[in-house]
């Protein structure tokens, strides 16, 4: 892990009083390796290291500390601040603000993302989380995947919320229109639209997503990403964001042992909030994002 690596390369500097060019270069090399290993985008790493180099130069190494732990702390704090840490030790994790459409006094949320990222499961989780404040209606706009509607319906049952039965309708605009009508009629003030997984290279499916967004007019479009994603993740997220603007992010499968570098890359470059972290397969496994905890995890 990084703190071990830093200790190893900076051990000969333990008697120096400042962070200088030489020990900083050694530390940056260790950090670069740790971040690549953690799947942080190469592009983000380059820029980030340049910023850290400036911040670190000349930093004092006070008595009782070694350059490696001063460097580690500088780096970790810089990272956490970047991710929205308020700089205080009593950290308050980011809390998701449910947008309210003033005109309709209800909310429409849609989820998008790559195949298998965890969208359908996450809708179930969101429904469970939000049913205290709202009366959700779950709607499947996935007309592609076998048994997608059944999966969402089953999750709606598990969460104890309403599911919009579309009886084999395959025209997306029809489903959206009928779902909104149904929601209004039955006083559901929150609609959660599930969409099919799609790749960032499939122009037909990207067109479908744009059509869904334009027609459903969501108050929030949330991009769902697998926390284990690799180097291509940033470009993928940018493509989704260009197709229909993303308002916030959810990173799933954080209960894996990945360090989850994709979160840093996508959140930082798209400059979007992380609404939630998916931390398991059960509907209760939805957590708030904590910048300081994530920074610690990322640096191993």
């Amino acid at each position: 892990n990084l703190s071990k690596g830093l200790t190893a390369v900076l051990s000969k500097f333990s008697l120096k009083q400042k962070l200088n060019e030489e020990n900083i270069e050694l530390a940056l090399r260790e950090i670069r390796m740790a971040l690549i290993d953690a799947d942080v985008s190469l592009f983000v790493i380059k820029n980030f290291l340049a910023e850290v180099r400036e911040k670190a130069l000349g930093k004092e190494v006070f008595k009782g500390l070694t350059p490696s732990n001063v460097f580690f702390k500088t780096f970790r704090d810089e990272l956490a601040l970047l991710l929205g840490w308020n700089g205080e030790s009593s950290e308050k994790p980011y809390s998701f603000q449910l947008p309210l459409n003033e005109a309709t006094s209800s909310t429409v949320i849609m989820l998008c993302g790559l195949q298998g990222s965890g969208k359908t499961t996450t809708i179930g989780k969101l429904a469970l989380y939000l049913k205290e404040k709202r009366d959700p209606l779950l709607v499947s706009l996935d007309i592609h995947r076998p048994a997608a509607a059944e999966q969402l319906q089953r999750l709606a049952q598990q969460a104890g919320v309403a599911y919009f039965e579309q009886e084999g309708e395959r025209r997306l605009k029809k489903i959206i229109k009928n779902a909104k009508k149904y929601a209004k009629k039955h006083s559901h003030n929150l609609i959660l639209f599930d969409t099919a997984g799609r790749t960032q290279l499939d122009t037909d499916m990207l067109d479908e997503l744009q059509t869904i967004g334009d027609f459903a007019k969501p108050d929030a479009n949330i991009l769902v990403c697998d926390s284990m994603l690799g180097q291509e993740a940033l470009r993928t997220a940018e493509t989704f964001h260009k197709t229909y603007p993303v308002n916030s992010l959810i990173f799933t499968k954080f209960d894996s042992d990945t360090r989850g570098g994709v979160l840093l890359s996508v959140k930082h470059v798209l400059s979007l909030p992380v609404a939630f972290i998916g931390s398991g397969e059960k509907l209760e496994d939805l957590e708030a994002f904590s910048p300081i905890r994530y920074a610690d995890r990322l640096l191993g």
Binding site: G124, P146, D226, G230, Q231, E232
Partner: protein, 281 residues
Amino acid sequence: VEKSARVDEAFFTELEESLLASDAGLKFSALFLAGLREELRQKKILDKKHAAIISKDLLKSWLRQGSLEFSKTKVPVIFFIGVNGVGKTSSLAKLAAYLKAKGFYSMLGAGDTFRAAASEQLSFWAKRLGLPIVKKPQGSDSAALVYDTLESTLAIKDKKSEEAVIALIDSSGRLQNKVALMEELKKMLGVAKKFEERTEVFKILVVDATLGQNSFEQAKVFHENLGIDGIILTKTDSSSCGGIVFAISHELKLPLLYISFGESLENFSPFDVDSFVEALF
């Protein structure tokens, strides 16, 4: 050789960047570049064009493609294993279609008894392919499902003794760091062992090409725990990557069996090292 066409440090730096960008990882990239430098030195290669060809050939030689060798006397049983959402259920359906074209008759086992609508998802493919399927209600014991599937498979084999019969068993997604889930999988495989007189088990790990370094950890831990017979790489249509298979194939010596490049049944074929490496660059 003219200076601009000569192999220089920039050549190696750029090669490292493209390897890292493809998720090949630091360790494999460093190993590969060291091997390449030695190869170029031995062959006295000075120009970039020639060096690029050598590097592609070297990459290809470090990947092992393979195929499952079925015994003539036992019914093959293939388990589809991997973390959540990578494409196990889809790959099972695709392999069933592929094998059907090759004259195999598959019995499908809906081994994911945990996730919502998992059985329904596999049932759709069974129906589409005209193949039998064994399934149980959500929440059932997955080991019992394995038992029933193998029992039914052997019953079919008894009726169709001339035909090539095979069992394809799905399993629920599981993260390799979840001990209880790894134990459940071992239990499923343990039940399969009861039929070892007449069956031969193969364990395929499904790896998602869009994921990063964790795929290597997945392969390592699943292999240590269960013994993996081969890899199916999915979602290569989603990105130019999948470079993690270099480390998986080279370090863990696991053969690459099939590649999935889309969501239709036909987007599936035996892994071909040449076209994979060519597509990467």
